[in-house]
Amino acid sequence: MELRKFFLMHIQIYCVLVTLIFAVSMVFGMIYAPEENIKYYQLAGPFIMAALCVLPSFITYFKSEPTLKQYIIRHIIQLTVIEAIVLLMVQPPDDMEQTFFRLFLGSIVLVVYMLIKLAVWLQKYLQSRQLADQLRKFQSAVIQNEE
């Protein structure tokens, strides 16, 4: 894949990620800290977090076709780096236990990561359906021409 295409694809992922971080923060905030007030500058958090999470994606860039093993290994490294960045950046609230918070945050990152992968896969699935439709039309046109 060309680096330009890869870059554009990751800008898309960045936008999805910002939305998902906002959504996850909203849901968990409503559950665990419904009385908490947030400041305007804290709204920048999801943008910075998403940027830091997208940067490790460049580990998954391949100029030529990767093997399945290479593909899986690079994605595991990517997830590990993202988890490390998030766990180092976000500090637990004073009234929350460290281990619980780390496990909780780690699971959120994993869920968001899986959701992103699912969104990308869904996009590909729709693209494959579109290709299959075009293929059927192409085959019908060829058969009609031959008749």
Binding site: S128, L131, L135, K137, F138, Q139, A141, V142
Partner: protein
Amino acid sequence: MQIKITKTDRSKPEYVEIHCYTVNDDVQEIAAFVKSRQGLLTGISDERQYEIAVSDIFYIESVDNRGFIYTKDKVYETRQKLYELEELLKTKHFIRVSKSVLLNLMKVSSIKPALNSRFTAVLFSGEQVVISRKYVPELKKALKG
């Protein structure tokens, strides 16, 4: 080898005749080229030569510099190179879908997503062929006609 082209009367059939000392690889390659222009490819199976109708071919694969022709239930070896076949068969709805595979679009029943921007073509025979991401734009272009 000298080349002689003679015009013939329309009432007689057109034919290509090769006069050679031995039927070597070069001669067979020329014969295979002429046959492929007529919608036939020469394939070898069990040390016997067969003429395969292009419309019966599902895909052609190159493995370790050897070409293989896949039909519904048989595999034949071919002496022709993949790039030569690609050139010959591009008007017969064949398209390159990876570095080593030429696919007959008329034999594809569906297209599924695969890992890392790739797709999988499911053939009417049930076999699956990987479409590399590099060749996806060409596939889209071919399908749009």
